[in-house]
């Protein structure tokens, strides 16, 4: 039955992808009639009021999520808020603006003095970070629509081996680095372009992206929130800040009794077992390894910087002007047959081809610089993660990982200490209000 359910869901998602693909409408052909062809319509920017409403809803949702996860400790309430935020930020507001994409706006604002970042976008970027710094990742638990749509499809989660989880986490760092560098140098907004779920929120989108998003949701049936854990660039920032947070979700409200009931409660692999302190021999080996890795780190950064320059050409192919210039050149040389909308637009512009080629080369050199920075970043990430995995910390109880826990509250129901607390709380409430018993 379980296998049939998975297949059914997979079929559903794949079929949705094919069914939702959008198609444009060509304009009417004739101009010798009285019919007036309406001019091109461009969507107006969102009114300021709706932007501020979004910010207000985000703030309230963050407050509620924090209260429900940390204070009320109710998974059901967190889930209800998550569904509400999925409907509002996802299906109603069409997944835009979102804090994940706002990384690029902030980056562009820092890199380009001519770009003025909207205050609402800045608020969307900053508010979840601030809340995470103080209260952990309650944003991921109940507010983020991308997380919510994945959380909604978790049916039968299986654990991902810790070692594999650590390795796959590199992908999120790579995505973050790529998104920041592309936003700063091109600018190309990778996160928005390759948002896997926005097509579902808008009930329309390119077939490729719908299939990609659908694939993630299919994987999400058994591996909880794969995008959040292995790809989300904003999750990297939240993870860093969550480690610094003063108050965050704990499995038990009191002393851990090491019953191990919570061991497999988390579908996101965030619960850590107790760790014994290292032996003197292990400590000595760890120090040697740490010294070796600290020496390797700058080497990785330099190698990445030097080799990354070669990425200029492939990276530049993401830029529409470069793509257009390459297409026009290919058409000139007769290497392709026919024209595209992009090359037609260029021919109609009347711009000399050499100007366009020069502009494309200039963009490519910028991408080459971006490639170097990306290579250096990846060297830093790999080296830094290797060092992080060398450091060993003592852990006495079962506890949620400071960076990985998304505060969903699933582990509460497994903890006998928590259940005892709830029972006592119910008894106190009953004692205070005897009529409620009847």
């Amino acid at each position: 039955m379980r296998a049939r359910s998975f297949i059914l869901v997979a079929l559903l998602i794949a079929a949705c992808g094919a069914a939702l693909a959008a198609e444009p409408v060509p304009p009417p052909e004739f101009t010798d009639t009285q019919h007036q062809v309406p001019g091109e319509q461009y969507p107006q920017p969102s009114a300021a009021a709706i932007q501020y409403l979004d910010v207000a809803v985000l703030f309230v949702a963050l407050c509620l999520a924090t209260f429900l996860a940390l204070r009320l400790r109710s998974r059901n309430a967190v889930f209800a808020l998550m569904v509400a935020c999925l409907v509002y930020f996802g299906f109603w507001r069409k997944g835009c603006v979102c804090p994940i994409g706002a990384i690029q706006n902030v980056t562009l604002a820092l890199a380009d003095p001519h770009y003025a970042i909207p205050l609402a976008v800045l608020a969307f970027f900053a508010l979840p970070l601030v809340f995470t710094l103080f209260f952990g990742r309650s944003f991921c638990a109940a507010v983020c629509p991308l997380g919510a749509i994945q959380d909604a499809v978790v049916i039968r989660p299986v654990g991902v081996p810790r070692w594999l989880e650590g390795g796959l986490r590199v992908l999120a760092y790579a995505y973050l680095g790529g998104a920041v560098i592309f936003a700063a140098t091109a600018p190309v907004f990778l996160i928005c372009r390759y948002d896997p779920f926005v097509g579902f929120f808008r009930l329309s989108g390119s077939l490729g992206m719908l299939l990609f998003g659908g694939g993630l949701l299919v994987v999400g049936l058994v591996i909880g929130r794969p995008y959040c854990r292995f790809l989300c660039p904003y999750g990297v920032l939240l993870g860093w800040l969550s480690r610094l947070s003063g108050r965050r979700v704990t499995i038990t409200p009191d002393q851990c009794v090491r019953c191990r009931l919570c061991e497999d409660a988390c579908p996101f692999g965030a619960i850590r077992k107790p760790v014994e302190p290292p032996t003197p021999a292990e400590r000595a080996a760890g120090r040697r390894r740490l010294a070796w890795l600290l020496g390797l780190l700058p080497l990785l950064v330099v190698v990445g910087f030097v080799a990354g320059g070669a990425l200029g050409t492939p990276f530049a192919k993401l830029h529409p002007e470069v793509v257009q210039a390459e297409r026009v050149r290919a058409e000139e040389l007769g290497e392709v047959v026919g024209t595209t909308d992009a090359s037609d637009a260029f021919y109609e512009s009347g711009q000399p081809v050499d100007e366009r080629y020069a502009e494309a080369r200039r963009l490519r050199s910028r991408f080459a610089l971006g490639g170097r920075l990306f290579g250096a970043w990846m060297g830093l990430v790999v080296g830094g993660m290797l060092i992080h995995l060398t450091l060993r910390r003592r852990r006495d109880d079962y506890e949620a990982d400071r960076g990985a826990c998304i505060a969903c509250g699933r582990c509460y129901d497994y903890c006998p200490v928590e259940l005892t607390r709830r029972k006592k709380q119910a008894e106190v409430s009953s004692a205070k209000n005897p009529s409620a018993k009847q």
Partner: protein, 595 residues
């Protein structure tokens, strides 16, 4: 607890089982509903692709038919009706799809809720086994994790390397082509007839041994005569054993290659499928059609331009080397300027629209690749003249007596007529060197050059001689003389350094002194002429639109030497080869010479 007390007949486990069954049933129903709905939407989307108005075969066929019958109102009505029908179908389908999307979303939501509910009802609390401490487990896990991080890093690096290897940029190729550029020597150019009016565009034959009598009707003196598939007023060019022509019809633009020895048509290639080429032909003057421009060759490739803005290059075997569209020219009679060449550059005078539109330009393309090497804006409205390439030599200038040898500026120039300026450009860079205000009206005659002086003549302005060693506006400093007699409106002038000739469309040939501009003589042939006059040895050849060629002496006194008849009309200028003349009639290509 209170519920159990209130209704002891209901067993909690039984109730749970009932809920579980209900959840499963709901999940199955919602799942099947969603799958069926999604499948129906997919089938509908696939089926509707055939009805897509962009690709509807029937509509496309009707549109093609409309090009040939633009005034067919019945055809227009059928296209409109079909267009409306397809549009209605499209929007009906869009509405249905939109409804289907929401239904599908609702179905999937119900399916997921019921499935999650079922899973929650089946959930049991875990029963962990006793944990057995494994020495060194944490260390091993950390080591494996480090290897995993390193492995992912390596995979990313390999993926990046694959990207770098597979992603090449086509933008870098022209530089390589440029370095390998080759071009014919001046001697090779002089032996052939590589462009409109031959080497330099001067209308002067390198051979004096060409025939002076022939009769196209009887075949006397005609080596061969070959029908040309499509007509056009473009002139023949020749290189070695090949002769090239262009032709056009309402549907076709073509380049032809003939065997110079036999007249056999070796190949014909259509200029089609060129990116950016306009779907609808631009309007042109009646009779000119779309191939009035004479092609050019560098001995390796032949280049042609059409009134659509299409430029195309073929090698001598007829294989297309490159093709591009320069943008449809805005020209009321159609673009008619012929191609010129300087070294490895194909020179195109692309004048169009009005001067205020600032669309006119002189373009140099890399002959090997078609890439634009330079482009210079021109302050002129549309013209129909062809630029010439002048090898401005300080020795020529000095010998002509116009300048002192130390003041002369040597260098290859491209000289082009415009309204109102005659301009000289640096051939290598396209930079404008000088300009003289001496022209006006509709500019069709091309300039000529001799001994450091450019000569131009155009109806509505003057016949003018301008020194080519100036810079900036040389109107007041370098214009040697102006004359107002016998100004041509189509045919280009002719100059040999001593004399200058101008031929009007009405057949009036006027001879000037090249140094003073004094009119020496004139002869009215009383025929219409489109062909520009040519100089062969000591003879000037003038060909009428009826195909009669008149010979006069290239001297300070008028001396008529005879005439010859082609046997059919002629609007083109002849090509002169060793002992032969190649000339295009209305329907045939003729080679005149001794058998």
């Amino acid at each position: 607890m209170s519920q159990t007390t209130a209704n002891p007949a209901v067993d909690p486990s039984e109730r749970k089982r009932s809920w579980l069954q209900a959840a499963w049933a709901t999940a199955v129903v919602a799942g099947v509903f969603s799958v069926v709905l999604a499948a129906a939407m997919v089938v509908d989307a696939l089926r509707s692709q055939a009805e897509d108005m962009r690709t509807a075969d029937r509509l496309a066929e009707l549109k093609v038919a409309l090009r040939d019958r633009p005034m067919d109102e019945g055809l227009k009505a059928r296209i409109r009706a079909l267009d409306v029908e397809l549009r209605r179908s499209f929007f009906r389908r869009s509405q249905a799809t939109d409804t289907g999307r929401w239904l599908l979303l609702a179905g999937v939501a119900v399916f997921l809720i019921s499935l999650k509910s079922a899973m929650a009802l089946r959930r049991k609390l875990p029963m962990p086994k006793a944990e057995t401490p494994v020495p060194g487990l944490v260390g091993r896990l950390a080591r494996t994790s480090r290897w995993a991080v390193a492995a992912v890093g390596v995979v990313l690096a390999l993926a990046a390397a694959a990207l770098v290897v597979t992603a090449s940029s086509i933008l870098g190729r022209p530089e390589r082509g440029e370095k390998a550029a080759t071009y014919p020597s001046d001697e090779e150019l002089a032996k052939n007839w590589p462009r409109f009016r031959g080497p330099g565009g001067l209308g002067i034959s390198a051979y004096a041994n060409v025939p002076t009598s022939w009769n196209g009707k009887t075949g006397d003196g005609i080596l061969w005569k070959t029908a040309v598939p499509l007509g056009a007023p473009s002139s023949p060019i020749a290189w070695g054993d090949r002769i090239f022509l262009t032709g056009s019809s309402k549907k076709l633009l073509e380049v032809y290659c003939f065997d110079a020895a036999t007249g056999q048509l070796l190949w014909q290639q259509a200029a089609s499928g060129i990116p950016g080429s306009p779907a609808e032909r631009p309007r042109t003057m009646e009779g000119v059609e779309w191939a009035p421009s004479t092609p050019a060759t560098d001995g390796a490739r032949v280049y042609a331009i059409f009134s659509t803005g299409d430029v195309i290059a073929h090698d001598f075997s007829g294989t297309r080397v490159w093709a591009r569209n320069l943008g449809t020219p805005e020209n009321s009679y159609g673009h008619a300027s012929s191609l010129a060449m300087w070294r490895n550059l194909l020179i195109i005078q692309y004048d169009q629209a009005t001067a205020d539109d600032k669309k006119s330009k002189l373009i140099a393309l890399d002959a090997a690749t078609g890439r634009t090497v330079w482009e210079t804006k021109r302050d002129t409205p549309q013209t129909w003249a062809t630029p010439i390439v002048a090898k401005v030599s300080h020795l020529q200038l000095a010998h002509s007596g116009h300048v002192r040898i130390e003041d002369a500026t040597p260098g290859d120039q491209i000289i082009a007529c415009g309204d109102p300026f005659l301009c000289g450009y640096d051939a290598a860079s396209g930079k404008e060197l000088w300009r003289a205000e001496c022209l006006g009206g509709e500019i069709a005659p091309s300039p000529v050059y001799a001994n450091g002086v450019a000569y131009t003549a155009n109806a509505g302005s003057y016949a003018t001689a301008v020194r080519t060693d100036g810079s900036g506006d040389v109107t007041k400093t370098h214009v040697l003389w102006k004359a107002e007699d016998g100004l041509p409106d189509i045919c280009s002038p002719l100059a040999n350094g001593e004399l200058v000739w101008a031929l009007t469309a009405g057949g009036l040939l006027t001879c000037y002194d090249a140094k003073t501009g004094k009119r020496l003589w004139e002869k009215d042939f009383e025929v219409n002429c489109s062909s520009s006059p040519s100089l062969v040895g000591d003879k000037v050849l003038v060909t009428s639109e009826k195909g009669v060629t008149f010979f006069v002496a290239a001297s300070r006194e008028l001396k008529e030497l005879g005439k010859a008849e082609l046997g059919e009309g002629c609007r083109t200028s002849p090509a002169f080869l060793d002992g032969r003349i190649v000339i295009r009639g209305e329907k045939h290509l003729f080679c005149i010479g001794k058998k």
